[in-house]
Structures are given as structure tokens and as C-alpha cells.
């Protein structure tokens, strides 16, 4: 069945390239390495930030209109089972403890992590980022950029760690490519369908 709608897939992949672009340009601005050149990095980072802001606002709107936000409501049900699955079940070829449905496509761990991204990391990055961009406007009284920058950099590092773990975890579907393929085509053969 179609697990991920057209919008979800558009959202996911646009967000993916924007986050990577923001990360690469951001760390160049942070003098971690040189790639685009500082000036281009700054311009790309600022433009990508606006695109990202618009995308997130539209996505949150979509989540509520479609009721898909329910996917991100944390639950303790199956939480322990899910942790146990990653710690041991996965090595024994055990079944996934959480069964995906159209309205519950995330496992309990994903719910917590993705919700944290949407309501914590992204807003913190956006707010600190736009303060960073506009702190010198007279009406915004910031004594120093230091703490804004510090928060923004910590958020960026958290996203790097998320990306590493996320890229690995997509290989833990039914087959190595199942999850990736589902996010591209939208379709995944679910457990419930197999039984039929």
C-alpha cells in the first residue's frame, strides 16, 4: 500500500537536501572546512534557511490538516520492545515489534526522536539562526552573538549525529533497501498485507 503520500515524500527529500546544504555551508561558516568559499556559503546558508522555514511551516500545517500529526505523538506502548529489538531481536531475525499502518508508520523510538526534531531542534535552529541573521537590527537587543552561535552550533552537531544514526537505521527494514525504497516510491508491503 502507499505508506508515504506525495507530500510526505516531497517534504522528506526537500528537508534532506536543505539540512545537508545547511550543514555543509554552516560548518564552512564555522571555519570547520572550506568548500564553497565563505561568501557563497553565507549566501547559500541564508537562502536555504528561508526555504527550510517555509517548508517546516507548510509541513506542520499539513500535519494538522491531514491528522498525520498523530504519527508523532509519543507512546510508551511497545517502547521497551522496540529498544529490545534493536539491542537483540534484530540479530536473531526477530519480527519488527511495531507494525506500520497508514496512521502509525513510526515506531515508538522514531516518534520520540522525530517529534524532538520538529518541536525542539528545528525551532531552536530556526530561532537561533534568524537571530544570528538579524541580531544587528536595532530593535533586537542582543548583548552578544556568542550564546546564539553556541546554541546554533550545538543544534548543528545534534543534527549531524541524527543524520549518521538515521542513515544507518534505514537499513533495518524488512530488507536493507525496503525503507529507502518506501520513502522514494511511497509503497511498502506491510506485515498486515502479507497475511492477507
Amino acid at each position: 500500500m502507499e505508506l508515504y503520500s506525495k507530500f510526505e515524500r516531497f517534504w522528506h527529500w526537500t528537508q534532506a537536501v536543505l539540512v545537508i546544504l545547511l550543514g555543509v555551508t554552516g560548518f564552512e561558516i564555522h571555519s570547520s572546512f572550506q568548500l564553497f568559499g565563505f561568501e557563497l556559503a553565507v549566501r547559500l546558508h541564508s537562502a536555504a534557511a528561508w526555504a527550510f522555514l517555509i517548508l517546516i511551516v507548510v509541513a506542520i500545517f499539513w500535519l494538522f490538516v491531514t491528522g498525520q500529526y498523530k504519527n508523532f505523538v509519543p507512546t510508551s506502548e511497545n517502547l521497551k520492545a522496540q529498544i529490545n529489538y534493536y539491542l537483540s531481536g534484530i540479530f536473531k531475525n526477530a519480527a519488527h515489534p511495531t507494525h506500520k499502518t497508514k496512521l502509525s508508520k513510526l515506531n515508538p523510538l522514531q516518534r520520540i526522536v522525530y517529534l524532538a526534531l520538529i518541536i525542539l531542534v528545528f525551532p531552536v535552529q530556526l530561532i537561533s539562526g534568524f537571530l544570528y541573521m538579524y541580531y544587528h537590527y536595532p530593535k533586537i537587543h542582543l548583548a552578544s552573538l556568542e550564546y546564539v552561535a553556541l546554541i546554533h552550533v550545538i543544534g548543528a552537531f545534534l543534527l549531524v549525529i541524527f543524520l549518521i544514526v538515521h542513515l544507518y537505521l534505514i537499513t533495518t527494514g524488512a530488507k536493507v533497501w525496503t525503507n529507502l525504497w518506501a520513502m522514494i516510491t511511497g509503497y511498502e508491503e506491510l506485515e498486515t498485507e502479507k497475511k492477507k
Partner: protein, 532 residues
């Protein structure tokens, strides 16, 4: 059929739409068009003189003294004498309020100390050659007599009018004329007057401190005829602008002054008077305006042709050769690095400025101030990151080692110049004690007789030698770990600053997560092999 449709939909939502967004970011926001706000300025070169001075009878008389010329000028240009006599060019001082709680003061070249020749006062015969008057040879000079005003030094366009060395502002007379300094042809000069050109201003402002480019570093004779690379405004390859094109003048009040002799944020010349405060047609660059002076990026180096003096050590002055005569030594580039009359120097060209916060006000060490910190700051540019009126400014710092009174803890001004030996001037008699004693005596200040040398610093903000825009500083000159602003660390600068603790912690977490996922993956592979 369904699968083709599904493939196309996936192609659009997964590849095409995100791709278009990122492509748009790169194409429309990634580049900057090289544009600037157009500038309209009325230039000296466009001025058309409304009269022909050669036809005035009063300028055809036989002038016996230069004061006679002044009297002739004033006979038509009445009231102009009062204008010029109200300015710092005449008074060599201004009434100012010093920053902080230092109160009111009257300061200027007339009474300030410096770390070049220590001070003009008391050396009038030589130093006051650059006064726009005739005969300020000592305290008896009459500042209220309009005939003492030298109109010609600023308004002569023949370039033949010269004030003679050692004559306190007078040109040569029939008695003391030399080949280099003949008696001026007053009729020719007086009939050839006009708006001051670069060389009128430059004759004093290029050569202050006893030679070309000694003091400013960004003001020197090369600007009379320089390439576009040296100065975009004054280059003969471009607009060949005159000093007064920026230093707009009304009623003889020439705007602009340097903080080596001034203190207050007024009567300044600012780039934005022509270029506006949003000159780049680019938001990110224009935003820098609130914290960074235009000069900082657009004057990447100074002394771009001839060298400027960066260090002056008086403590070695006075050595004489085997015949008891003063001598000089030059460095490999032809600049003096030792003069018996002045001590040791360091010169350099193509100098990288130092950078300081500056809000347009400056403090000065006054003759009554005692030394409280070393190096002694001859002048202090006020400002800090927290002060919202401050901007980062490029500065020439002139460092010195000069004489001070170890008992009274104040800087000493010396009597350096005299026409003859035996008057106690250091440049003739080479006795530091006598020179210090006479110098302090002239300004009615006590001298304990005990002296030593102390390190001093003078701060000269840079404004000239503006480079072409393609030579302006690029981002990473400052936004990098070890950039030009490495020492200006009272604020967070993106690209320069980071918190090592946070950085290291984060890198360890990243390593840990990589090890975690690789380990987890390996275990899965091993488990799956075992199952088979």
C-alpha cells in the same frame, strides 16, 4: 501503466521539486551582482572661476611683504579673514569635550604632545612653517592681526609659492633667498589664485613629521599622481579628485580632522556623505555598516607607494661620529634608520593596518597628565563592541620610545630646533638635558632634571588610499580562525570564534555514533551469516 505513472510521480516529488528548490537557492541567492549605488558629487574640477584675478589692479601693485598680498586679498574678500581665523588651521587648537569624565579642554597641534618630534610648541621657527600665517616664531605672535594670514599657501595654483624652512611661516625675502627657496613672484601668484588643489594641502599634510609620509601612512606625495590601485578617488587614471572634493568647505571651515589632534565626533568627512550607508546593493555587505567602518574593508593596506614611519626610538639619539659630527644610517630601502638628531626608526610600506573599535571620539594625554600605564597612549580611540556607536576601524599605530620626567611622571617636550648652535636646541647642541629643560620651560612646566625613556603609542585612523573594490578585504580576512581581527576579541565573530570544549565534546559524540552504527551493522552481518 500504473507503474509508469507512479514512477513519474515519484520522480517529481522526490527529485524534481527538491532539485528545483536547491537549484533556485544556488542560482538566485548564491551569487551577487557587482553593483554599487551611483554617486553624484560636485567636483573641484568642475568649478569655473567667476573672475580673472590677473585683471585686478590691486594685484598689480609692487608687493613688499607677503602681508601686503593678504591686505590686497581682504580688500575685496572682506570677512574671509575672520572665517579662516576662527578655524583650527589658524588657531592650531579646538575647544573640545574629552570623552569620559575628562571634561573640557582646548587641544590641538599648539599644545599636544606626540611621539614624533614630541611637540611643535617651542620649535616654532621650524614647525610653524606649516602654520597658515606669517611669523609665529614665539609666544608674541599676534593671532588677531588678519594681515598675518597666509592666503597664498592654500590658494596659489602656480606651485611656485613656498614657505622657507626655519622662518616660522614666511617665504624667502631678498636677504635670505636661496635657489630652492627664491622670493615668490607675488604678482604672478596673487593673480593665479583659485580653489586649493592637492599639492596646496599636501605641502603640509604629506610631509608632517619631517618627511614624506612620516606621520599618516595614507597621505603622501604619491597621491598627487597615482594609479587606480593606490587610491580610487585621487588617481589620475580616474577622477583625479582634489582633497576639497571630500573635505567639503563652507566659510573656510574645511570638514574633516584626524584624531591625532582632535577629540569629538563632529565636523567629520564620512564616506556615506556620497556613498550612502547602503552602498553595496547587497544586504549582507550593507549590514556590516553598523559594526565595520567602510575603511576597514576598502583600505586593506596603507603606505602603498612610499614607506611610513612605524617606530621611533629617541633613546639612541645624540650619538656623534669620530669628528663629533651628527651622522645618519639608512636601511636597505633608502629610509633612515638612524639619525643623530632623532634616534632610531623603523619604516615600512604596504603595511597591514591594526584594527580597533572606534566611536568617533578620542582622548589625549595632556601636558599636565601623569603617566599611569605603559605603553603610554598619546591618544586613545574610544569604543568597544558593546558601544553601539562604535565600528571597527583600520588604524596606523605609531610606536615610540620617548623622553619623560621620572620624578614628575610626565612626558617631556623638547627644544629641538634653533637657527644657531649655542641656544640649547638638541638638533644643534645634542644635549638632551638642556633640550628637555628648555622645552618644558617654554611651556611653563617644571622639569625635575631626572629623565628616562618610555614606550608610547599613537593611534592614527586610516581614511585614504582606498583600494579598487576587487581588492577590498574578502570575508575570510576576518572570518577565519587567525584573521585580521584575531586581537579584537571582545565579541563573538562568526568563523573566528568557537568553544573548544563544545567542539571536542561534539566530535567525540559523532565518533561514538559512527562506531555505534558500524558496530551494530557488523553484528547484524555476523548474525545473518551464522543463521545461514
Amino acid at each position: 501503466m500504473k507503474s509508469i505513472k507512479s514512477f513519474l510521480v515519484s520522480l517529481i516529488v522526490v527529485v524534481l521539486l527538491p532539485g528545483v528548490i536547491v537549484y533556485t537557492i544556488f542560482v538566485y541567492y548564491g551569487s551577487r551582482e557587482q553593483q554599487h549605488v551611483p554617486v553624484h558629487a560636485e567636483l573641484r574640477a568642475d568649478h569655473i572661476s567667476s573672475v580673472d584675478h590677473s585683471q585686478f589692479e590691486v594685484l598689480q601693485q609692487e608687493f613688499k611683504t607677503p602681508q601686503d598680498v593678504t591686505a590686497a586679498c581682504i580688500s575685496c574678500h572682506n570677512g574671509r579673514d575672520e572665517e579662516i581665523m576662527a578655524t583650527a588651521h589658524w588657531k592650531w587648537e579646538r575647544d573640545v569635550t574629552l570623552p569620559g569624565d575628562r571634561g573640557e579642554a582646548t587641544i590641538g597641534k599648539k599644545n599636544l604632545l606626540n611621539n614624533f618630534c614630541t611637540g611643535a610648541i617651542g620649535n616654532n621657527g621650524s614647525c610653524m612653517r606649516c602654520h597658515i600665517g606669517y611669523g609665529w616664531k614665539d609666544k608674541s605672535f599676534d593671532f588677531s592681526d588678519p594681515k598675518n594670514v597666509d592666503c597664498l599657501v592654500c590658494h596659489d595654483l602656480t606651485q611656485t609659492y613656498k614657505k622657507k624652512k626655519g622662518e616660522a611661516g614666511f617665504p624667502s625675502t631678498a636677504e635670505n633667498a636661496t635657489a630652492d627657496f627664491p622670493v615668490p613672484d607675488y604678482n604672478l601668484v596673487a593673480q593665479s589664485v583659485g580653489l586649493p588643489d592637492k599639492n596646496n594641502c599636501g605641502i603640509c599634510h604629506f610631509y608632517g613629521g619631517g618627511g614624506n609620509n612620516v606621520k599618516h601612512g595614507d597621505l603622501e606625495e604619491a597621491l598627487l599622481d597615482c594609479s587606480f590601485d593606490v587610491d580610487v578617488h585621487m588617481s589620475s587614471d580616474s577622477l583625479n579628485m582634489a582633497c576639497i572634493d571630500c573635505h567639503r568647505t563652507e566659510q573656510h571651515n574645511i570638514t574633516g580632522k584626524l584624531y591625532s589632534v582632535s577629540a569629538m565626533n563632529k565636523n567629520r568627512v564620512l564616506c556615506e556623505q556620497c556613498h550612502t550607508d547602503k552602498p553595496h546593493m547587497d544586504q549582507i555587505l550593507d549590514q556590516h555598516y553598523s559594526k565595520v567602518a567602510c575603511q576597514t574593508c576598502h583600505i586593506p593596506t596603507y603606505a602603498k607607494v612610499n614607506a611610513t614611519k612605524l617606530y621611533w626610538d629617541w633613546s639612541s639619539a645624540g650619538k656623534l661620529d669620530e669628528e663629533g659630527e651628527p651622522f645618519l644610517e639608512s636601511d636597505g630601502y633608502g629610509n633612515h634608520n638612524y639619525l643623530s638628531i632623532k634616534g632610531n626608526f623603523i619604516w615600512d610600506d604596504h603595511v597591514t593596518p591594526e584594527y580597533y573599535w572606534f566611536n568617533g571620539t578620542a582622548d589625549h594625554i595632556l601636558i599636565d597628565d601623569t603617566i599611569s600605564e605603559i605603553p603610554v597612549k598619546i591618544n586613545t580611540l574610544m569604543g568597544s563592541y558593546k558601544d553601539s556607536t562604535s565600528r571597527i576601524w583600520p588604524v596606523k599605530v605609531h610606536r615610540g620610545k620617548q623622553i619623560y620626567d621620572t620624578e614628575y611622571k610626565n612626558l617631556i617636550t623638547m627644544k629641538l630646533w634653533a637657527a644657531e648652535t649655542g641656544e640649547g636646541a638638541f638638533w644643534k647642541d645634542f644635549n638632551l638635558y638642556t633640550a628637555a629643560s628648555l622645552g618644558m620651560d617654554y611651556i611653563d612646566k617644571p622639569f625635575s632634571g631626572k629623565y628616562d625613556f618610555v614606550k608610547t603609542e599613537a593611534y592614527w585612523p586610516l581614511n585614504h588610499m582606498v583600494s579598487p573594490k576587487d581588492q577590498a578585504l574578502t570575508c575570510t580576512e576576518c572570518h577565519s580562525r587567525e584573521g585580521r581581527l584575531a586581537n579584537l576579541n571582545d565579541f563573538y565573530l562568526p568563523g573566528r570564534d568557537h568553544m573548544p570544549v563544545v567542539e571536542q565534546g561534539a566530535i567525540w559524540l559523532i565518533i561514538l555514533s559512527i562506531v555505534g552504527v558500524v558496530g551494530h551493522g557488523l553484528l547484524r552481518v555476523i548474525a545473518s551469516i551464522k543463521r545461514k
